[in-house]
Point group: C2
Chain length 213, copies 2
């Protein structure tokens, strides 16, 4: 009986990518403290030794996963091209996008929570995050200005406060969906509940920003 031993293909990039994907899952599921390096290696079908070879140590790996997560959401935001829409439509699109991104990428929320538990000490060492956000705040600032020119937005709204609020009303609902479903005795993740929440959020922001909501 001729046994065909499957030849091991070596691919550093693919291994690193598998490790990063596995690390993202594990960190999101259990937080930095609860995550297990062995579990990441297993999930990635890689040897634990490779994690230390490519990424240094557990905390550095966490930092890189976090940087990737931030880069991903900001990249997706840039792709919205809000400049090409009337200000009102652009704002609604941004609210919908933020909600749907959190919904489809729940690990983003958990990673950010974990980083804040650690007082953002990994992100502090990063450096390349600030630029991403500067551009983003600028984008929302420009949108607000344009809306004022069009006569549909109230003047004087701080783009940072608005950004925070748009994120908050989606983020809080989703990150606390487990305790929330318990204490309010309704399934916050039921499709109708999600729709209802998005509508409520759009109305909240529109009433805050628009001249005639």
């Amino acid at each position: 009986m001729a046994v065909k031993t499957t030849r091991k293909i070596r691919d550093a990039d693919a291994t690193q990518a598998r490790i990063l994907a596995a690390a993202k899952k594990e960190f999101a599921k259990n937080g930095l403290g609860g995550a297990r390096v062995d579990e990441i290696a297993d999930r990635a079908k890689a040897n634990k030794r490779m994690i230390y070879h490519y990424f240094g140590n557990k905390e550095d790996l966490f930092r890189i996963v976090l940087e990737e997560a931030y880069t991903d959401i900001r990249t997706a935001e840039q792709a919205l091209e809000l400049e090409h829409l009337p200000a009102r439509d652009a704002l609604e699109k941004l609210i919908r996008f933020t909600w749907e991104y959190y919904l489809k990428n729940p690990e983003f929320i958990t990673l950010v929570n974990s980083e804040n538990l650690h007082k953002a000490r990994h992100l502090k060492k990063s450096g390349k995050i600030e630029i991403l956000f500067k551009r983003f705040v600028g984008m929302v600032g420009a949108l607000l200005d344009r809306g004022v020119e069009e006569g549909v937005f109230r003047p004087g709204i701080d783009p940072v406060q608005l950004n925070i609020t748009i994120a908050a009303i989606g983020y809080y609902y989703l990150t606390n969906r487990f305790t929330g479903s318990l204490v309010f005795q309704r399934d916050l993740m039921a499709p109708e509940a999600l729709e209802e929440r998005l509508a409520f959020n759009i109305e909240t922001i529109m009433r805050m920003v628009c001249v005639n909501p």
Copy 2:
């Protein structure tokens, strides 16, 4: 040389209270997974054995700390006596209270985050939390109804959605204050920043709820 050995005073209640206070701090600082039972014992100036004697195990201790935290905030809310104020003033008082409670009790936020990371599995075993919240949602529902009667609030607002939003706009800002201060390049915890945020939050809710904001 006569050594006066300080007589050890025994007080089960006091020891339990010290353990609970220490556990709250440690769980809030490091999450359930990151918290160390030895550290809790040290902080409480108690022997680790006492923790297991009084509270069973680490997870049960976490559950009790969490129950206490929820009971504390709901008790403080009951004490607001919103019924005795005009609806508009009552709503503003509730927004201010929520913000200030989170600000003064940051461990509440971290405990809730940690519980949601674990899909609320400790609170599920509790049972006595639902009643607390039922009363709270009822209170806000009554306030909304009264505001409609007074002609100051819009009708048809869901008290649960409103509750969630009032919590969200404060909670998100504070739980993500570390990454937030980094990415927005401003100190979100500076006194002026906190005042500004509270004002923004009050305006957000008032515009959502009131007929003439």
